[in-house]
């Protein structure tokens, strides 16, 4: 078993993987399938278990429960060098005693590739660093080191390439550049990339599939657009983009809509867009879907009074912070399309409205309450 696990190929499968450290569960019964050749992003707050998950895939940590498979091959319990998996470490972890070329050739040499040095040169060309091949890692900039780390992993053509916040240390401009480069390399070599980040924008722009992780579990997984459009938990609603949330009670239905009462206002949520169909529900709508009016709009039905607390002009848009009757702070983005924009100031009474087809309903859980509270406190 040990010798041929390195030849395993196919989708990466995690089955009920759990990792317990003494009395702490870092990864809790996690199951997922990453299709071969896809770009998968693991998104979540600090300490939610992203690195631990990657380490279990790499074999640097063994799960306390569950299985890790590549295709049909069970690689649980095998050593890191027996897996067709390579990691681009958060800290790069380049070997300081070897040149850039030797660093990249390290993997091929261990696998007894006859043309290790040529492979290394090709990989360095891929990351556009051929001219620095003879340098030591200490003589490179952060971005260059990051590309060496990438070349050192990619050169092995692993089934699965793990990237643990590899762009974390870079400035914004370099980060954007590297994102494009990473995406290019991924489509060029066609490997399965698992990219860990806590930058939601990075995850959304790069990945085919994004999994949002929280407290050792996956809260929701799907294409970025879907994650944004229809969050299934309050945590996702606030971690991926921003959401205006309110706790309500479901009163009945109206055609394809659920009607809920959120602090004395009736709101409607499309039936297919709500996880909850009776009892308590967490109502949500994205800030850019909300319109702001100086007087009560006619005919929409989905409106709520509010008081402006802050106005910030950002050029293409204006961001309003408003307080709704429940006491929660909501955010509203208005695109500055009109020649004469409405001029509102803190303290003004306004009306908010939105197209009810954009609303969503998620379960009321601790995270949701906390998120709503956090907005209150803002």
């Amino acid at each position: 078993m040990a010798t041929n696990t390195r030849e395993a190929h196919g989708d990466l499968v995690l089955e009920n993987v759990t990792k317990e450290f003494a009395d702490f569960t870092a990864v809790d019964d996690l199951s997922l399938v990453v299709p071969r050749g896809s770009f998968f992003a693991l998104l979540g707050p600090s300490g939610c278990g992203k690195t631990t998950t990657l380490r279990m895939v790499a074999g640097l940590e063994q799960p306390t429960g569950g299985r890790v498979l590549i295709g049909e091959t069970d690689i649980t319990g095998t050593r890191p060098h027996e897996r067709p998996v390579n990691t681009v470490f958060q800290s790069y972890a380049l070997f300081p005693h070897l040149t850039v070329r030797e660093n990249v050739a390290f993997g091929p040499k261990r696998r007894k590739a006859a043309d290790a040095m040529r492979l290394a040169d090709d990989a360095l060309e891929l990351v556009q660093l051929s001219h620095l091949a003879a340098r030591k890692p200490g003589q490179l900039s952060g971005g260059q080191q990051q590309r060496v780390a990438l070349a050192r992993a990619v050169v092995n053509q692993p089934e699965v390439l793990l990237l643990d916040e590899p762009l974390g240390a870079l400035d914004l401009k370099l980060r954007r550049q590297m994102q494009v480069e990473l995406k290019r390399i991924q489509s060029e070599v066609g490997l399965t990339f698992i990219h860990v980040t806590h930058d939601q924008e990075e995850a959304m722009t790069m990945a085919d599939t994004v999994a949002v992780m929280n407290r050792g579990r996956i809260e929701q997984m799907g294409p970025p657009e879907r994650l944004y459009d229809l969050p299934q938990t309050a945590f996702v609603a606030n971690f991926v983009g921003q959401s205006n949330l309110g706790v309500g009670r479901i009163h009945g239905t109206d055609g394809d809509f659920i009607v809920a009462e959120v602090s004395d206002t009736k709101v409607r949520i499309p039936k297919q867009r709500s996880e909850i169909h009776d009892g308590q529900v967490m109502f949500g709508v994205r800030p850019e879907k909300v319109r702001i009016h100086e007087s009560q709009p006619v005919g929409t039905g989905n409106d709520v009074r509010a008081v402006v607390t802050d106005v910030s002009f950002t050029g293409v848009a204006t961001q309003y912070l408003v307080t709704v009757p429940s006491g929660a702070n909501w955010t509203v983005y208005e695109q500055n399309l009109d020649v004469e924009p409405i001029s509102l100031r803190p303290g003004d009474d306004v009306w908010l409205s939105w197209d009810p087809t954009h609303a969503f309903g998620v379960p009321v859980d601790e995270d949701g309450r906390k998120a709503a509270l956090a907005e209150d406190g803002a």
Partner: protein, 306 residues
């Protein structure tokens, strides 16, 4: 600091804030001022005695007055010293080399365990490594004479098993090398431990992630990362061991295990008229070690050491 401040002051365009030239000049002198105490010390206690030793090694005896010398350039001292005591040189190098290898073999696993496996026992182990220094070097070596003595359990057991060809451990080269190894072990352990402890464990993980099994990772990552410590440790062991005479004196025989240090010692302190020979031996030993060490550092040295 000063330059950053100067730059920002210049940008601000405030001529009042431009630091006076004296600041720059003072910075130029500081390193030399800092060197003065060390240079004085070195001159007094190293350069002067060295010159004296060099001139002593070239002196000649007053004919018919043993113990009296006159200034000369008598290269014959070196020829005599090296031809009569060449074997002691070789022995010193062999014993010191063997002790260095043994020290490394013992120290590396110990340092590795301390750096990566000891957890909360690490400090206890460190103290244990250093603890022998609380007792005198001579006393500890005398203790080894007891441990290796003919009627002590070790020699008796080996004799009972007919595993000891000569019947003794003391008075043999084995005892001398064992003593050297014991006495210089901490000088090997500490630098290796320091460099291993500084090595980033994520580099070792990177090695395993890149298809190196444990042994290959040790060879291709861990040991190269510890190279500065290994280099320092071997030098700190080999150099004093090659010049040592206490171990050969206390644990070795009077004839077959004498090292250069013992010869120098007796030429200086017991043989009448041995001064020039002793000085010539000392200078030769110094040059020999210097050449060996330079060659070694050239071959294995890393930028961090040189």
């Amino acid at each position: 600091m000063t330059t950053a401040f100067a730059a920002s002051a210049r940008e601000a365009g405030d001529p009042q804030l431009t630091p006076p030239r004296r600041g720059g000049r003072r910075r130029g002198w500081t390193p030399y001022l800092l060197l003065v105490p060390g240079l004085l010390w070195l001159t007094l206690f190293f350069i002067v005695p060295l010159v004296q030793l060099g001139s002593a090694s070239l002196q000649s005896q007053w004919p018919g007055a043993p113990g009296y010398y006159y200034r000369d350039v008598n290269v014959g001292n070196y020829v005599d010293a090296l031809s009569s005591y060449g074997v002691h040189f070789l022995r010193s190098l062999a014993y010191a080399g063997l002790a260095t290898v043994l020290c490394f073999v013992i120290a590396f696993p110990l340092a590795y365990a301390m750096a990566f496996k000891a957890g909360r026992w690490r400090n206890v182990m460190l103290i244990l490594v250093v603890a022998p220094f609380f007792t005198s070097f001579i006393l500890r070596t005398i203790a080894w004479r007891q441990i290796l003595a003919d009627d002590a359990p070790l020699a008796r057991t080996l004799n009972a098993l007919h595993l000891l060809p000569g019947g003794h451990i003391t008075e043999t080269w084995v005892a001398v090398v064992a003593g050297l190894t014991y006495n210089f072990l901490p000088f090997m352990v500490l630098p290796i431990y320091t460099s291993l402890e500084r090595a980033d464990p994520r580099l070792l993980e990177a090695g395993r992630d890149l298809y190196a099994d444990r042994l290959t990772t040790l060879r291709t990552v861990t040991i190269p990362l510890a190279a500065p410590g290994i280099l320092a440790g071997t030098l700190l062991t080999f150099i004093p061991a090659a010049g040592d005479y206490v171990n050969a004196e206390l644990l070795g025989s009077d004839t077959s295990t004498k090292m250069v240090g013992n010869v120098i010692n007796s030429q200086f302190f017991t043989v009448l008229g041995g001064y020039p020979t002793a000085a010539a031996l000392s200078i030769s030993l110094m040059i020999l070690i210097l050449v060996l060490v330079l060659g070694y550092v050239r071959r294995f040295g890393t930028e961090e050491v040189l």
